[in-house]
């Protein structure tokens, strides 16, 4: 069942789970602004210019894609004029995804390597696009950068389940990974990646090029999509040898580049990749043994990082406490008491040092002196409270009995607790214990929230399974009529919007009633199942075979014209006729097929089905076991 996700409903559900990779900051603003069609160049450039880093990256790519280096591009609007505002929008989106999704919870997924690899594909795709002049280099770059976004998305939404998938898929091919993803998550990274690209309003050709990345054959793609798909694949082949200069060049490439050209390209891409890696702060320390030569999806498989799961260590055990005091004696004494009570202590002697330590060690509690040079205790509290990572820390302020240090100021600055020096160690520890209860409560709330988000995510898996069930024919496991109609509607509107080809093949098993009558319904079911399997094994990935009911099937072929769809139909006819069904039946059945394509005057679902249906009858009338893709002269058509 390829691509039940084409409706964006799963995306909407997954969004609720809250962890989908998504553009951040400026990228999000661009996405919002450009949801519709009516945005101007000025709108986009204005937003991009608010982010100097992004501006720099856009100019960089604009200049590397410019064919005449005599005129360097120095502004975003120049870049938009040169590259087109859409390309600029798309690449800006791509960059904002890189900067916002650099780490995550899935321990078997290596986020850094993922981006390093994606960047290599991007750089290679841009260079190849320029080399063979098949696509806009900027678009190729963006498409390359996001071509495996589905894997990242799966790791983000279902970190634990995806860990299991990656573990089980280790050492097996790319196909096994896709199957496992389907089995465990009911969606695979190719489907999800395509859905995300569509959701972000990136060109349909991007999604299609990504969809065929893992297939052996390219067929029936529109010319420009086909070119982009070939570039993307070749870039994929090159990526491994870019990540490691010792790796071998890919032996074959679809773009018919000779090895010398390829070697030169690799050299250039590697330099580009290192440059971009520095710009985007993506490490470049990978070796061939770690990256490719394996099926491509293996690339994302990572050695599990031994990051201790430090989140739940608070319960019944010691806390991680940051103690801040510019008085070394007081610092030593507090650390001594806390250490003896079983807490882990991090020490800092100034406010700034404390801030760094808080970010680095993520303590659960901070005990700070009030009066300190550079940054005093209250300023430290305010700063910690306004920092995302530190917002939940439990803050205690210590102070001497001074008239200007008032408890109310401490609480106003965000402190949870306040007490006076000199302190009694027993009371200090009692306050710390009280704080620990509060911390545990907070952590419980936080973990409940996480579990809830996970449940939403799990629910969406369940919903996808349920939806899949409602859309699946129980006997043949093919998508059913409901799905077929929905899918055809969508594919048709995409084809109309992009003015691309779309064809359908209507199929009917010949003399099926006879099978039922002579051998019983059990044999009839068997014939249906076997025939379904044959049909399914023949079509391209982007084609969808559905069982409409009875012995009637429909194949939807987006991107295929009449001739291509007829060729597919003919392959199916031959395969069915040669497939001897066993189990006591002992022979093959045959099918009759009618092919129709979207064209002027026949551009609704009903039109397509009517024409295809009519041609099935023509095929039947002409003796069965054949494909009909044109209407006979009028008189014959009537008699059929």
């Amino acid at each position: 069942m390829s691509g039940i996700e084409r409706t964006n409903r799963p995306i909407e559900e997954l969004k609720l789970a809250g962890n989908l990779p998504s553009p951040t900051g400026v990228g999000l603003a661009i996405l919002e602004l450009t949801r519709g069609e009516d945005y101007s160049m000025g709108d986009v450039t204005r937003i991009i210019q608010t982010d100097p880093a992004l501006t720099g990256r856009i100019l960089r790519i604009a200049n590397s894609a410019a064919s005449s280096p005599a005129q360097p591009i120095t502004s975003v609007s120049q870049a938009a004029m040169r590259l087109g505002v859409r390309s600029v929008r798309n690449v800006a989106l791509g960059f904002s995804l890189v900067s916002g999704n650099r780490s995550g919870e899935c321990r078997r997924f290596d986020y850094e390597r993922y981006w390093a690899h994606s960047l290599a594909v991007a750089v290679a795709a841009a260079a190849l696009a320029e080399e063979v002049r098949g696509a806009a280099p900027t678009d190729a770059f963006t498409c390359g950068l996001l071509c495996e976004i589905g894997s990242l998305a799966l790791a983000s939404i279902h970190p634990e389940r995806y860990e299991e998938v990656l573990e089980r898929a280790q050492g097996q091919g790319a196909g096994a990974l896709l199957l496992l993803e389907q089995e465990v998550l009911d969606i695979d990274h190719v489907q999800l990646g395509c859905a995300l690209l569509r959701d972000w309003g990136l060109p349909e050709s991007f999604a299609q090029a990504v969809a065929v990345l893992e297939q052996r054959e390219l067929e029936g793609l529109a010319a420009d999509t086909d070119k982009l798909a070939r570039i993307l694949r070749a870039a994929h082949g090159l990526a491994a040898s870019i990540l490691d200069s010792d790796a071998e060049l890919p032996s074959a490439n679809e773009l018919n580049l000779d090895r010398l050209r390829l070697a030169a390209l690799r050299q250039r891409c590697r330099a580009d990749w290192l440059e971009w890696g520095r710009t985007l702060q993506i490490p470049s320390k990978f070796r061939a043994s770690e990256t490719s030569a394996l099926p491509r999806s293996e690339l994302a498989l990572a050695i599990p990082t031994s990051e201790a799961s430090s989140t739940n260590t608070a319960a019944r055990r010691g806390l991680r406490v940051l103690v801040v005091d510019d008085d070394p004696v007081a610092l030593r004494l507090i650390a001594l008491h806390l250490g003896r009570a079983g807490h882990e202590v991090i020490k800092a002697t100034t406010g700034r040092e404390a801030l760094l330590a808080a970010l680095e060690h993520a303590p659960q509690m901070v005990i700070t002196d009030w009066m300190m040079p550079d940054m005093d205790g209250l300023e430290l509290c305010r700063t910690l409270r306004s920092t995302e990572e530190c917002r939940g820390m439990y803050l205690i302020v210590l102070t001497g009995r001074d008239r200007e240090t008032l408890a109310v100021d401490a609480f106003d600055s965000g402190a949870d607790e306040y007490f006076l020096k000199p302190y009694d160690a027993k009371i200090l520890l009692a306050r710390v214990r009280a704080g620990q209860r509060t911390i545990e409560l907070r952590e419980q709330v936080e973990s409940d929230r996480r579990i809830q988000a996970q449940q939403v995510a799990d629910m969406s898996v369940l919903n996808r399974k349920l939806e899949a069930a409602a859309m699946t024919d129980v006997l043949t496991k093919l998508p059913n009529r409901r799905f077929a109609m929905r899918r055809l509607e969508e594919d048709l509107s995409i084809a109309l919007a992009n003015n691309t080809a779309l064809s359908v093949v209507m199929i009917d098993i010949d003399c099926f009633k006879q099978v039922n009558d002579e051998h019983g319904h059990g044999m009839g079911d068997l014939v249906l199942r076997e025939t379904s399997n044959v049909l399914r094994s023949i079509v391209r990935r982007e084609d969808t075979v559905c069982r409409l009911g009875g012995e009637e099937f429909l194949v939807i072929c987006p991107g295929a014209n009449l001739e291509q769809a007829a060729a597919t139909a003919e392959r199916m006819r031959r395969a069915v006729a040669h497939h001897v069904i066993g189990y006591g039946y002992g022979r093959a059945v045959t099918i009759s097929a009618g092919v129709a394509q979207r064209e002027e005057g026949a551009d609704t679902v009903d039109d397509l089905l009517r024409v295809a249906d009519r041609r099935v009858y023509v095929a039947k009338a002409a003796g069965r076991d054949q494909v009909c893709s044109e209407d006979p002269p009028r008189s014959h058509a009537r008699s059929a």
Partner: protein
């Protein structure tokens, strides 16, 4: 703040508490804390003199405040008292009086060093 009787340079009761706190697991604790204190006090003294020269009351006050807290922790009673007076002067008093206090403080810190050294030799 004026104490008629001179206070001890080092409060032996506090020292005893620190030894007890160190116990068998950290027998060197009292020595370590005294060393920390003397080291820190020497640096604060320099900071105090600088602040005095520049007339920076705020810095003067902060340094005196911190030193008062650490001296109280090790039982350096004289240093503690002088720091409290210095803090007060830095806030509301004459800078000239503060200069006098800083010299008194330097002598008190030296006295802590000597007294503690003598105590250790005697032990």
């Amino acid at each position: 703040m004026n104490t008629p009787q001179p206070e001890p340079v080092l409060d032996l009761a506090v020292l005893a508490e620190l030894r007890e706190l160190g116990g068998v697991s950290e027998p060197g604790l009292a020595d370590e804390l005294l060393a920390l204190f003397l080291d820190d006090a020497a640096r604060r003294l320099v900071a105090l003199e600088d602040a005095l020269a520049r007339g920076e009351r705020q810095v003067l006050m902060r340094a005196a405040h911190t030193l008062r807290s650490s001296s109280s922790n090790v039982g350096a009673r004289r240093v503690e008292r002088i720091c409290a007076e210095l803090e007060f002067l830095a806030r509301d008093g004459e800078v000239r009086d503060a200069a006098f206090k800083v010299r008194e403080l330097a002598r008190a810190i030296a006295a802590v060093r000597d007294t503690y050294g003598a105590l250790r030799r005697a032990a």
